[in-house]
Structure formats: structure tokens, C-alpha cells
């Protein structure tokens, strides 16, 4: 076990505190700038019981995303979304009571440099960061900048990751460890991959940081099953498919409430 409590930032403290009450963590995703009033989704997510919210900063070439997030990114970019505008929208929001975690590709981090990028996140009230094309061995430059700015970069772990590397990822990840449930891209799947249980079990052996399962989790049943292995779930494509199909904040609130209830049926005893 890594004693990571000492270094824990605000996002991690928040997630740990909620997890330690026995609650399953819910991290829904929305692509920033997807609709004119896109920040209304954030309020709906918080109302539905999200424990943190992932805001995608759309990139032209999302190489780890499946068709749904690709389409959402294209649509947001076509509307004129940019890192600067999305962060400006976030900076103008009242406190939602849950941490915001940005996710994007490394090209957008490098564009103004990791230092300026992380400082801009912080100014917009974003506490965490996910960069799916930045593996642990390339993350040093971002980690330093993020620490300086007070932003917590969560690293991804994959079913293909060997155990010693999993230990390093868990040690250097901040906020939580993002467990990629399967060997594939983001997107809805019919069933939770068998690799999800094995991976989360391997991560738990090396860290007590919150472990969130993502990729393919799209239904209450899958959330419930994921909760048996992990501390919580990240739900992206299942949200964005609904948004792309025209679902508004109220529709998403209703959908996420079903996930919230599923997670609540699988609570742990409080720690």
C-alpha cells in the first residue's frame, strides 16, 4: 500500500471522504461546448448525485475515443469550442459542490505549455485532469506543472499494464486511479468486460487511492457490477450519446439518477 494521504489534493480528499462513507463514486462526463447552454448539464449532474464531473476539452484527433465522443468533439469544435472558451464558461459558474476534472489530449496541454495550461485550469476552478495519451513515463513534465498549479492529474491503468508499472502509475496518479476496463476505445458496450475485475483487483493490491472504472460502462446494471470491483465509475459515451440525440439536462439528470441508485445498492460498509 502506498501512503498517499499525505500528498492528497482537494479532488482526492473529496473522493476519499465520500468513498469512506461507503458510497460508490459517480463521475459523469460532458464534452465542453457541446451545446450553447452546456454548463446546465453540470448542474444536472451534480443534482443527480455526481461525486465529480469530467469536462472534455475537445481535440480534433481523439485517438482513444470511439465514435460517440469523436462525434461530440467534432460537434463542439464546429460550434467554436476551445479550451479558452470552455474554461471561461466554467469560471463564470457558481460552485457546484463537486470537483471538476478536465480531460483532453496532450497536444492541447502543450499548446500553451503545461504550466500555463494547468494555471488556466486552476483559475477556472478545475481541480483534476485526465490526459489519455500521456502515459506515466511521459508524465513528468505535466506532473511538475500540475503540482505547482494545484491540479491533480489522474493516470490511466490498462488491463495490459504489467504489475510493477501499475504500482508506479498508482503512486504517481493524483485524485484517483482511472482503470480502463477493457482493451479498446471509449464507447458503450453490452457487458462489462471481464478484464475490469482483474485490473481493479491488481490496482487495489498497490494503492488505497480511489479507483474508478471507465470505458464501456453505460447501464445501471453495469454500474452496479463495476461497483463490486471498483470505488466508482466514469460514464462518458452513454451520456454523450443521449446529448447528441438531443437529450437535455433534465433527461440526463434522470439517466444519472438511475446510475446513482444502482451504485447506492452496492454500498460498502463505512470505513
Amino acid at each position: 500500500m502506498t501512503n498517499s494521504t499525505v500528498a492528497a489534493g482537494a479532488v482526492e480528499r473529496h473522493l476519499r471522504a465520500r468513498r469512506d462513507t461507503g458510497r460508490g463514486l459517480l463521475l459523469p462526463y460532458v464534452t465542453g461546448g457541446i451545446t450553447p447552454g452546456w454548463t446546465d448539464y453540470l448542474r444536472a449532474f451534480a443534482d443527480a448525485g455526481a461525486d465529480a464531473i469530467e469536462v472534455g476539452l475537445p481535440f480534433s484527433d481523439p485517438t482513444l475515443d470511439g465514435v460517440t465522443i469523436q462525434e461530440a468533439s467534432d460537434r463542439a469544435l464546429a460550434r467554436g469550442a476551445s479550451v479558452r472558451r470552455i474554461l471561461a464558461d466554467l469560471a463564470g459558474l457558481p460552485d457546484l459542490g463537486v470537483p471538476l476534472v478536465a480531460s483532453t489530449y496532450y497536444n492541447l496541454v502543450l499548446h500553451d505549455g503545461p504550466g500555463a495550461f494547468c494555471a488556466a485550469l486552476r483559475r477556472a476552478g478545475v481541480g483534476g485532469l485526465i490526459v489519455p495519451d500521456l502515459p506515466v513515463h511521459e508524465a513528468g513534465e505535466l506532473s511538475d506543472a500540475a503540482t505547482a498549479a494545484g491540479v491533480e492529474p489522474a493516470l490511466l491503468a490498462s488491463p495490459a499494464t504489467p504489475q510493477p508499472r501499475l504500482a508506479e502509475i498508482s503512486r504517481r496518479s493524483r485524485g484517483f486511479v482511472y482503470a480502463v476496463s477493457l482493451m479498446g476505445t471509449t464507447g458503450e458496450r453490452a457487458v462489462l468486460a471481464a478484464s475490469a475485475a482483474e485490473l481493479t483487483e491488481r490496482i487495489r493490491r498497490v494503492t488505497d487511492r480511489p479507483v474508478l472504472l471507465g470505458f464501456g460502462i453505460s447501464t445501471p446494471d453495469q454500474a452496479r457490477e463495476a461497483r463490486r470491483h471498483a470505488d466508482g465509475v466514469v460514464v462518458g459515451a452513454a451520456v454523450m450519446r443521449r446529448v447528441l440525440d438531443g437529450a437535455g439536462p433534465d433527461d440526463l439528470r434522470a439517466f444519472l439518477t438511475t446510475l446513482r441508485e444502482a451504485l447506492d445498492q452496492e454500498c460498502d460498509p463505512p470505513r
Partner: protein, 401 residues
């Protein structure tokens, strides 16, 4: 690590175009910016390549395939009539005469052998002009592997004959309908597909791009171009080395392979990019498709679409080693327009009886423009890699001429 092994090719004392530095770096460029799910697969490719490249048995197998199947060595052809017109001594390294008609086969045969060494049964590839796809389909058929080729829908339209060739060779061609529907998007889609197929498939990257070890490995598989030309020049010229070495650059594989043979000589290295795809000349630092390099981007950091009449140059970035060579000043990167490239293709056809690929015509267009000026003085000796033949472009040319 450099040059410890006796069969390693010569590199200059500063190590330029030798092995990359730690973590696959060429200066500040390169690296392995792959999703975590691909990191282990990249590590396995790296380890297998290092072992294979140091194994005389592997080198022998590859040399036999290159000789018996690809038709190597390719000639070094003096372009006599065009040289006279231009006032320079122009020599063409004839990659257009390889089996499948472009230099792409050199890399693909190497990677296909590597795939069998790793026990993989299928090759995944991206393709722009279709030349890398055809080469991959060919190598797969030759070695009894399957091939899945991703190709932008727009390129499928303008390179219909190559699509037919791939399918005839038994490959599956998957149209990519996202983004600009060209090489960039085909590469993204091939990477996405590889994430779910690492167990049985090898991603056969077609250029000196991608996560470490690809930029280095592909350059090594392509260095046969430069090494052969170096030997041929030793017999041809009193100085043994041409004054200028010129090649077209999309991702930059034929240029990297050509330059590698001359990195330790005084030859001036010139990479010629398409005006609308000038990653080295006009790109800015970024990360795409697994490596840190120079990419065309807008003010918000989004990758912009490249535009070139030559599908193989229609890529908004450049291989990381080219970015490094540019920074070092060891190579310079220039651009030519679509019109200049078409004009060069016609001129080569009428003076030398060779119809070049439009990609290769870019390199020639610069030679034509620069000959007799300060950049390429009269009397200079010039090596230009003619990376592919123009059959695939005949329908494009027919509409223009």
C-alpha cells in the same frame, strides 16, 4: 549504446541519425505518447526490433526478401537530358522500380518479418496514397498473414486502383469517414483498432511517425535506400558523395532512409514538403499519433487539415527525427506547390521517360526551381530519391493536363 555492435551502420561522431536517446527521443522530439493500453505493445515491438536488428539471421532473411521479392538493389539512374537542361548533375535513386512501385515495401517487409517473429498473424496499416497499403497487403500475402488497411474515404476515391490492388491481394480495406477522411484520420483509426487487437495483430506504421520505436525502426528499414545510394555513388563520383541529397517529405520515411546513408558526409540534406502539408517548415510543437513533433495547428491547438495533390504528403505533421534535423540545421525543409509538382512530373516524363509519383515529383520540383541559384549552384551533384512511380496518379493528372 551507439555503435557497440559491429554490424551497425556508420553514424557521425555526434550520433545524428543513430539510435534515438533515452525514451525514444530525437532531441526534444519523439517519445512514446501512446495510450496506456498500447504501451506494452510498443515495448514488445521495441525489444523484438532491437533483437532482430542485431541478429544476422533476421538481416539475412530481410536481405533475401528485398532482393528476391522487392527487386533490390534499385538502380541509381543519371538523369542525363534533364541534367543538361538544369545545369546540375542529377541522379535518381529508383525506388519506383521496386516491386509494388514505391519505397514503402522496404519497411513493410521488415515489419512483416518482425510480426512473424512476435507470433502475430495480422498486419494493421494506415494508408494515404495507397502505396503503403498495397505494400502491406503484398507482404502479408507473401508471408501468409492477414492484412487490415485503414484508408480515408477521400483517398479511396482518388486512389481507386490501389484499393482494388489491396483487395485483390487479399487485404481488408476499411474506409475511414471521420475528420478530413485522409491519412491523418486513417492513422487515428488504425491506432484505435490496434488498441483492441494487440494480442494477434502488429500495427505496421508506414512512415517515420508514431510512438517509439516506430520512427527509428521505420528509418532503419528504409536506410537501405541511402546505404545503397552511398555505395553506388562511391563508384560513380570521384568525391564519392553528392553535394545535395533531396527527397520528398510527408511523414518523411523515404527522406529519413535516404538521409541516413549520408548523415556522416558533407552532403546537404533537403526535405521537400507539399505547400499545404508542411509540418517541418511550418508546424509547431505538439503531440499526435504517439509522438512529439511538429504539426500544423490552429490558434487553439487543434490539428489543421493538410491539403496536397499528392495523397502521400497529405499529412499535417512530420516525423520527429526530421523535426530534430531541422532544429540542428543538419537538414533543411522547403515547400513546393501542387502546380510545381505537376510541372515537374511532366518534365521528368518528357526528358527521361519516367512518370514519377506526385509525391516524388515534389522533390524534383525543388531541384528544378533551385538549380542554378544560390541554393543549388550550377555544376552541383544531386541525389534525388524517386520514391515511387506515377501510375497511381495518372487519373489525377489526366484531369489536370
Amino acid at each position: 549504446m551507439r555503435n557497440l555492435l559491429p554490424w551497425r551502420e556508420p553514424v557521425p561522431p555526434d550520433g545524428t541519425m543513430g539510435e534515438p536517446g533515452t525514451r525514444g527521443r530525437f532531441g526534444e522530439y519523439g517519445g512514446r505518447y501512446a495510450p496506456e493500453s498500447l504501451v506494452e505493445a510498443c515495448r514488445e515491438v521495441d525489444q523484438t526490433f532491437r533483437e532482430a536488428w542485431a541478429d544476422p539471421g533476421f538481416r539475412g532473411d530481410l536481405a533475401r526478401l528485398l532482393a528476391l521479392h522487392a527487386g533490390r538493389p534499385t538502380p541509381l539512374t543519371p538523369a542525363r537530358r534533364l541534367s543538361e537542361e538544369l545545369g546540375v548533375q542529377l541522379y535518381l535513386k529508383r525506388e519506383d522500380l521496386t516491386h509494388t512501385g514505391s519505397h514503402k515495401i522496404n519497411n513493410v517487409l521488415g515489419q512483416a518479418l518482425l510480426a512473424t517473429r512476435m507470433g502475430r498473424r495480422r498486419l494493421i496499416a494506415e494508408t494515404g496514397a495507397g502505396q503503403h497499403g498495397v505494400a502491406t497487403a503484398t507482404a502479408a500475402a507473401l508471408l501468409g498473414l492477414e492484412a487490415t488497411v485503414f484508408m480515408g474515404e477521400r483517398d479511396i476515391e482518388r486512389q481507386a486502383l490501389n484499393v482494388f490492388r489491396m483487395r485483390m491481394l487479399g487485404a481488408e480495406v476499411i474506409p475511414v469517414i471521420t475528420g478530413s477522411r485522409t491519412l491523418k484520420d486513417a492513422t487515428s483509426e488504425a491506432m484505435r483498432h490496434w488498441v483492441g487487437a494487440t494480442g494477434d495483430s502488429h500495427y505496421c506504421v508506414g512512415s517515420v511517425i508514431g510512438p517509439d520505436p516506430y520512427p527509428w525502426m521505420v528509418r532503419e528499414f528504409q536506410r537501405v535506400i541511402g546505404d545503397e545510394a552511398r555505395g553506388q555513388f562511391a563508384a560513380e563520383l570521384r568525391t564519392g558523395v553528392p553535394d545535395h541529397v533531396v527527397a520528398c517529405v510527408g511523414g518523411g520515411s523515404n527522406a529519413a532512409g535516404t538521409f541516413a546513408g549520408f548523415a556522416d558526409t558533407p552532403a546537404r540534406l533537403v526535405g521537400v514538403e507539399a505547400e499545404g502539408g508542411a509540418g517541418a517548415a511550418r508546424g509547431r510543437l505538439g503531440v499526435l499519433h504517439g509522438c512529439r513533433s511538429l504539426f500544423l495547428q490552429d490558434d487553439d491547438g487543434q490539428i489543421t487539415q493538410a491539403h496536397s495533390i499528392a495523397a502521400g504528403l497529405d499529412y499535417p505533421g512530420v516525423g520527429p527525427e526530421h523535426a530534430h534535423l531541422r532544429d540542428l540545421g543538419r537538414a533543411r525543409y522547403v515547400t513546393v506547390t501542387d502546380d510545381e509538382a505537376v510541372g515537374a512530373a511532366v518534365r521528368l516524363a518528357r526528358t527521361e521517360g519516367i512518370v514519377p509519383a506526385l509525391e516524388s515529383a515534389h522533390a524534383l520540383a525543388w531541384v528544378i526551381r533551385a538549380a542554378g541559384g544560390g541554393e543549388l549552384p550550377s555544376g552541383s551533384t544531386v541525389l534525388m530519391t524517386l520514391s515511387g512511380r506515377g501510375d497511381k496518379d495518372v487519373s489525377t493528372l489526366k484531369e489536370l493536363l
